[in-house]
Amino acid sequence: MSGLLRQAWVISLKDTRLFVRDRFALAFALAFPLLFVLGFTLALGNISSPDQPIVLRVATQEQEGISTQIIAALTAGEESVFQEIAYDEARLAVKHGRLGGFVAFPADFTASLLAGGKTRIEVVSRSEDPNRRAALEGFAHALAGQISLAREAVATVAALKARETGATPALDVGSLIQPTALVAMETEQVGPARPIRASNFTLPGYLTMFVFFAAAMGAEAVARERQTQTLERMLSNGVRRESILLGKYLSTAYRGLLQLAVLWIVGIFGFNVELGPEPVAVIAISVLMVLASAGFGIMLASLVNTVRSADSVGILTSIVLAPVGGCWWPLFIAPAWMQTLSKLTPHGWANSAFNKLMLFGAEPGNVAWEMTALALFGAGFVAVALWRFRMAPAR
């Protein structure tokens, strides 16, 4: 056993040495994610003034009605993410590129809602701004769901009251659609809503993406070692396959921890990222995420055969899992089906926890499921690697 650990340790040091000497790998793991964070933070919000949060604009074509009550409720409070804007002015602003997009209620919104008919919420956005469009669409979806729920509730209460008293109750939609209730629905009730600073979700998102990306690229190094027969050479020296796997796991984990340290430090001091009221929980989630990524790396290394397949599988999985797992835009503004889909990826659980802790002031207890899920993903990946890892290329 101690022989196994010692060999794994020596292997992990050797791999770390190779990593440090590989300038491209270093740049890829550390500089790329920072560039992405910088780019998207600039695109989504102004990083030079940290007080300027993402603002979602809402407009209505009704003079008076449920939509005006909803807007009043949404925009209430000093820290609201929402701002009202006049419909025609908003359209013009989008047309001339002064505004990324907005959500609007139609003129017949109240009428068709009260008549029990279908109504719609309009999303107007500039096509070249996919992040904002995703944000607005997600918001519109959530709002639509909330309104139909509220209508069901109001209708039921009204029917009951009418039976009791024979009177028609007044509609108070505003009290049913509070901004807290809205955000709570999207974010699983984890605390009061605060303005969203772009870097607070771009940084954990890109951190997660690039930690997994770098881990996946590690599979390529293993495939190369299989091809150049260094693994076989170790085997003939008496090294056990488990030592090699553990060594690879450790070196991938060190890399991830280095990425973690660099990105959080640069994020906090360079991008005004706030870890929220529970920084220890954020770090715990980050470490669990890194361990899951190391498992992911050795699992890929066990499943791919050639260097080329390692390359393409690594890139493909990374750029598919990242958006599905909410690394590119925040999950809480995504439609429900995307939120569900994200649960199939470790990225999704990590991002959900980061968002809860860093944006919505959750307590560690609120992210217990996320921690469990990340640990299970990590264990599952390692199990597959132990089951499938080969020392020589299959031909």
Partner: protein, 249 residues
């Protein structure tokens, strides 16, 4: 000298139905340099990989000093060193780092590994380049590093799979002399090469392999006697007469 150190017994291996090694048996005596010759694709590397415990045979077994590669691979691995046909090393690491790493993999402690690395670099004439990345080395120097790595475990039995392929006469000669010196120190060596005069000079006994089968085993002199007067024929002529002149691969 006449004690059997390795015995391959009816080894068989096929890859996806293509037979690479077809019932091969031979033995290597202690402190002997045993040559394994054969055209490209004859099955030499496959045979070595099975003897080196890294490729499980489809049938048969190999005993190394009484230990079976099937049942006691761990014991066999303590006795052997393998210099693979490909350069199995890390070009980005220095020569010293490569040797120390594989020494530690073979069970040496950090300090022991550094000492052994120094000795082996001296042996292959690379003591002055110890701290240079292998990527910057010439082909011959890389081959010598590849050989030095396989000596890190101080093996009793060394498998050399074409250690002199594609390098200049100086490097070849150096490797050649190194192998003779190792044998002088009591090492048993299995040597594979396509250079017949090399095999003739170096090997005590030879086996010629073709299409996965052994077609001749004996001393260079015995093999030459099969086709004529040993003094007058070359090993190359023996080889061509036994394996034919048709191109392979």
């Amino acid at each position: 000298m006449n004690e059997e150190f390795l015995a391959a017994k009816e080894l068989r291996k096929a890859f996806n139905g293509n037979v690479a090694v077809d019932v091969v048996s031979f033995s290597i005596m202690r402190k002997e340099i045993f040559g394994l010759l054969g055209p490209n694709g004859a099955g030499k590397t496959t045979t070595i990989r099975m003897m080196a415990t890294v490729l499980p045979p489809d049938g048969g077994d190999v005993m190394v000093d009484g230990h079976s590669v099937l049942r006691h691979a761990g014991e066999v691995r303590k006795l052997i060193g393998v210099c693979p046909q490909e350069l199995a090393l890390y070009p980005e690491l220095t020569a010293l780092e490569n040797l120390v790493f594989f020494g530690q993999m073979a069970g040496l402690g950090g300090k022991q590994a550094k000492e052994a690395a120094g000795e082996n670099l001296l042996l292959v004439g690379l003591q002055d380049r110890a701290k240079d990345a292998v990527a910057k080395f010439s082909g011959g120097m890389k081959r010598r590093v590849n050989l030095a790595i396989s000596l890190m475990s101080r093996p009793a039995l060394l498998f050399l799979d074409e250690p002199t392929v594609g390098i200049d006469p100086q490097s070849r000669n150096h490797i050649f002399e190194t192998v003779q010196r190792l044998r002088g120190e009591g090492m048993t060596v299995l040597y594979t090469t396509h250079y017949m005069e090399e095999a003739d000079r170096l090997c005590d006994r030879l086996a010629i392999m073709d299409h996965g089968q052994l077609i001749a085993v004996g001393t260079p002199r015995e093999l030459k006697a099969q086709i004529g007067q040993p003094e007058k024929v070359t090993l190359e002529e023996v080889f061509l007469s036994l394996t034919g002149r048709r191109l392979r691969d």
